[in-house]
């Protein structure tokens, strides 16, 4: 079936099988930041934004994405680099496989929530699993990144 959507701002048209997961479609388009980390909609590694909302691309029906705007980490290079530096500074990541999905959801959180506290952060990011670490470095990085965004907003 034919599908047309906007991928990171570019119009994409393709002929697909209607049972193809959005995840496979995105990887076929060269978006290799989108990873499959589980088979049970439980790890958060395949997170992408559909019309600005974070969803699991392994689960979201591809045909439903027809006509929508999809953003992967490849389309958020500047923000990803900015937050990535905070992750690195805290020594948060080890193998890095879960980073793209995690960063997508951190970006979605900072866009959706105003001044999230630690509980809000944990709640929003609970669906992003990392099997190397204990999330403490990530939490420090997220807090420092939010503080950095706030001070930027205040024009400091």
């Amino acid at each position: 079936m034919e599908i047309k959507l906007w991928l990171n701002g570019k119009a994409v048209r393709d002929d697909v099988s209607p049972d193809m997961p959005l995840l496979e479609f995105l990887r076929k388009q060269g978006m290799y930041s989108v990873k499959r980390g589980c088979e049970t909609s439980g790890c958060g590694l395949c997170s992408v934004l559909v019309e600005g909302k974070p969803v699991l691309s392994c689960t979201y029906p591809l045909m439903r994405a027809d006509g929508t705007h999809i953003t992967t980490l490849e389309g958020l290079e500047k923000e990803a680099e900015e937050f990535g530096a905070f992750l690195a500074d805290e020594g948060a990541d080890q193998c890095g496989f879960c980073n793209p999905g995690f960063i997508i959801n951190v970006i979605a959180m900072t866009r959706e929530l105003e001044n999230p506290d630690e509980e809000d952060i944990k709640e929003y990011l609970a669906g992003n699993l990392c099997r190397c670490t204990g999330f403490m470095g990530q939490l420090r990085a997220v807090k420092k990144y939010i503080e950095h965004k706030r001070s930027e907003g205040r024009g400091e």
Partner: protein, 260 residues
Amino acid sequence: MYKCTGYVFPESMEEAYKLNQKKSNKIIAGGGWLKLGSRQYATLIDLSRLGLDEIYEDEECFKIGAMVSLRQLETHEGLNLYTQGAIKESLKHIVGVQFRNSATIGGSIYGRFGFSDVLTMLMALDGFAGLYKGGSVPLEDFAKMKYDRDILSAVTIRKQKNIKTVYSSFRNQSTDFPVLACAMSLSEGKIRTALGARPARAEVITAELPTDIDRFANETANSFAYGGNMRASAEYRRHIAYVLIKRNAEILAGGKAYGD
């Protein structure tokens, strides 16, 4: 992962209903449950272009469209005000924000899953399933019905004055399915206790507001049936039920009601 050869967006409920009469076709809601299976379908019927993705609130009721996402319900101000935040509590432990952005009320309720937090919560609120052909059916009856080829289009909650609501669940691990889910509401001296994840489908029991909460918790917990599975034994669940019912009843006995 499921397989399918066709995928349609019906333009009316009647069209969706007709397509759904064919046994090899299937309605796809959020897709989260279908994805876990490996069934082969002819045509998947997508209800996402029928305007079923909104929550309407008026003086009398809330009407939640079948394609409203769990996240929409979780963040709905009116429903959280009405339930003293119980709605949010019942949803925020389900997988993650990304999952809840695509999982739908229709999928959760139609599925009548034993593990369902959503079914447990909405049953305690005395919700009604709105079926395209079957009309309005109380959720406690809907939960007992067999799967048929009708379509769930909405869930309605009739507002009750001065209602108090509380929700709690017990999980072995954050974001996992619940070991037990307990939703309770108090309105006009009557307590509704809905227990889900026993691990069977949620059921509800109504009783007078008790004076002895400990005894009430014990008796109520004993009046449900429990089963064991990989997450917990039946005995363990019965004990957790007693604890959650007691805690929830204590919260209902104090605190503020909707409209206070």
